[in-house]
Subunit: 479 residues, 2 copies
């Protein structure tokens, strides 16, 4: 059928033009629509449902670790933004300013929050009095605005949805521990639920968050070898607390500044899902966040009893806790196959008259396309096993891609050779000097991704300056 082809042909092959493939997917799988404001996208039902599933899992993980949700205002008065010097320098160039309210110009302009450290600290200064109020473990789900020049759905937009955690602690050690704990929750979330392997480590001073003492990151490698920063967790020391005069009466009755963290994951992670798992046929969604985990397609649906059998099978799978869609639309089976493949539905169940007679159905995994004949009796378990196998499969495939594209480099020649081979992670030693980090960016057009927690000793010297190496660092090019 013409329509069958239309659905599939419209996607650019993944290895022909990865950027165009990505753009095709986000539009044709109906994840987003572009809005009237450049760089601000509309999340359509299918795209937003992925975000709702992400929210549900992360929110549970946050609450299980004692965090509470709050809601902060959208606007930050300019004077408040300016209280912490490094922070304002980092963010002021890319914020949107409200200068008029109703028909009157504002006495002080307000920035639309690019992140909310300043708002949280202003609040903390009023509600933290004693060590008994600590730790204060807050999170909020909201959107933030950064006036980016070049934009791309999910990856870089002028407005994006995220969660931002903000916590205050009695001691530096406790805050450091929180910073690591939340990074670890992000790592677990990516690997266990999204099936995206991540590299965890610390950002260099050059790449850390504006105003932070230390920034920790998880970096995922996309299909094309480029890196995507998928979650960050920041340790602030008491810098913001001093700037905002947040103090508490300590156990010894002295007045002290609390120690702070913040951490965030955004809708960028949907971009990571697309670019880690997708293929020539479209999206491949990890079951934990897929809006539809199983699609049931009746074959020869006009024949007696087929639609009814398909419907009751769908109900049975739903009752087992799966998210199921029965596609009883008028389209041909072939069109439906292509459509649901493009939209990344992990498992397809086909059910025709002969299947019904034989008490079985055909199950097709989205990642491998493998067909399995499954008995209808106990299909819930069979479907769950296939979903679980798919989870293992896409994780392994992503891991293998990362391994193939990761090169350990002992010196500059090896780095140059690795970069020439194509995008990936390039491991090397580093002296710790910003000058060498900048030189690397200049010479090889790569940036530092992180200093991995799992350090190796590849050589004794920094490949740039030849001085003593302090760390192993991972380089790459990033989205």
């Amino acid at each position: 059928m013409a329509q069958d082809k239309k659905a599939v042909e419209a996607i650019t092959p993944i290895n022909e033009d990865f950027g165009q493939w990505y753009t095709d997917i986000v539009k044709k799988a109906e994840l987003v629509d572009y809005s009237a404001v450049k760089g601000c996208v509309i999340l359509r039902p299918y795209g937003y449902a992925i975000w709702e599933n992400i929210q549900a899992i992360l929110d549970r993980m946050f609450k299980e670790t004692g965090h509470e949700n709050v809601s902060m205002p959208l606007f930050i008065p300019e004077s408040l933004l300016q209280k912490e010097k490094d922070h304002v320098e980092g963010f002021a160039p890319e914020v949107a300013w409200v200068t008029q309210g109703g028909s009157e110009p504002l006495a002080e302009r307000l920035c639309v929050r690019p992140t909310s450290e300043t708002l949280f600290c202003d609040h903390f200064s009023r509600v933290i009095h004693s060590y008994r109020d600590l730790p204060m473990l807050y999170n909020q789900w909201c959107s933030v605005v950064r006036w980016e020049k070049s934009t791309r759905p999910f990856l870089r937009s002028r407005e994006f949805l995220w969660q931002e955690g903000h916590t205050m602690h009695e001691t530096a050690a406790e805050a450091e521990q929180e910073t690591q704990r939340m990074l670890d929750i992000y790592r677990e979330f990516c690997e266990k639920y999204l099936k995206i392997p991540v590299l965890a480590g610390r950002k260099t001073d050059k790449e850390k968050f504006a105003g932070a003492v230390a920034t920790y990151t998880i970096e995922a490698m996309m299909h094309d070898g480029k890196s995507l920063q998928s979650g960050t967790s920041h340790y602030f020391g008491d810098g913001f607390a001093r700037a905002f005069d947040v103090k508490f009466a300590a156990r010894d009755n002295s007045l002290q500044y609390p120690h702070q963290t913040s951490w965030g994951v955004s809708t960028r992670i949907i971009g990571a899902i697309i670019m880690t798992h997708g293929d020539d046929n479209g999206l491949i969604l990890p079951p934990a966040v897929a809006p539809i985990q199983v699609v049931v397609v009746p074959i020869a649906a006009h024949k007696e009893g087929v639609l009814e059998a398909a419907a009751s099978l769908a109900e049975k799978l739903k009752a087992a806790g799966l998210r199921v869609k029965l596609d009883d639309s008028e389209q041909s089976p072939g069109w439906k196959f292509a459509q649901h493949e493009m939209r990344g539905v992990p498992l397809r169940i086909e059910l025709g008259p002969r299947d019904i007679e034989a008490g079985q159905c055909v199950a097709v995994r989205r990642d491998t396309g493998e067909k399995a004949i499954l008995p209808l009796e106990g299909l819930e378990n069979g479907a769950k096993e296939l979903l679980s196998a798919l989870e293992g499969g896409i994780f392994e495939r992503a891991l293998k891609n990362r391994e193939q594209r990761t090169t350990a480099c002992a010196d500059m020649a090896e780095l140059e050779a690795a970069v020439a081979k194509g995008p990936g992670f390039y491991k090397s030693m580093w002296c710790g000097d910003r000058a060498c980090e900048e030189a690397m960016k200049e010479r090889l057009e790569i940036s530092s991704r992180c200093l991995p927690f799992e350090q190796e000793r590849l050589s004794d010297v920094c490949p740039v300056c030849g001085k003593k190496a302090e760390h192993m660092i991972v380089w790459g090019s990033a989205y």
Copy 2:
């Protein structure tokens, strides 16, 4: 104890100064904190948790009726806002304008959404092609901004959280039906879950939403007799569709404009909960949205086994699906009682050494203060029964307040007498002329609340002009 008193004395008596009582509650029950921007509040964990519970219930009701969530941008270009004439006239005077992005002035200023009809219609114009795409049943959870002059937490703020549903339909009849269906969901939500009786009806043309053909409303009466508009549902006809050129190929292949609705409930509803159910001791939260439904307070907690018994009792109640807090803090029982009463926890369970010995506990309802001795065996059911009794009790009390403050008035003299007695609902007939509606506002300082669906015949003529009466209308003064 001094602290016991402090917690309670700090609230102004409800009948002494209702406004101050309200302000005391929202601050001292830790629902909100004021932010650095006038009229924008911070929802603290306890206040936000109420909103999360409201969201969970409404979101389920929306999804059960086929609605899908989406996310629209925060910004509306001025040219887009201006496309529908009545709409822009209604909203332009109270929007916040972004005029600068990063370091550059914007070519076109952007308003921060006060509501999103224009954004949805712009999107609909791109995604609606055929009758097969209809109905399109969308909702979003977000915040909106209206630059109000005088503000009050929950009731009127410059930024507030809400949900806005936006739907498009093949026929006017179907859209009208949707408008009514969603109002009915709001009514059910208020009465069944929040235990707030509401009056449902249609707004007059003067009071309807900017750009709507008809606005339907549910009006709740607060403790002081004033009215609070608690949810609205609008029917737009095809006015916006024409303005935004949204067209679809109908079943007969002709190009037609779809018919539209929108509907919303906001954090105002938390103000309604406070002002409907609260009393001199503070908040009274309906169990369905209370962050803590049962607080367990150990008595003589230093005695052996008391804390353990209280903890296991709390676990047992949690396992039965209740939201439970064990208050094992160092405060005195009296302070805890006052504190949790102020915060509106529906049920308190006290457990001391003698109770444990007797296999029982003391259960105290927040609304009546009644104490009941309950056996520990089967306490889950006993607690649920008391919560259910409280639900009935607070609904009845609110209904009684409304009945006592509702007066049927046959003529102007009766209206004047009723208004003189104090705030309430004043029912009268009305000719349907805007001039008479405005005259009423002028003379008695009351506004029309709605034309109730349940109409009565109180007289034959409009009390203002003496012409033939067309409707029964309800007047009141509103928050």
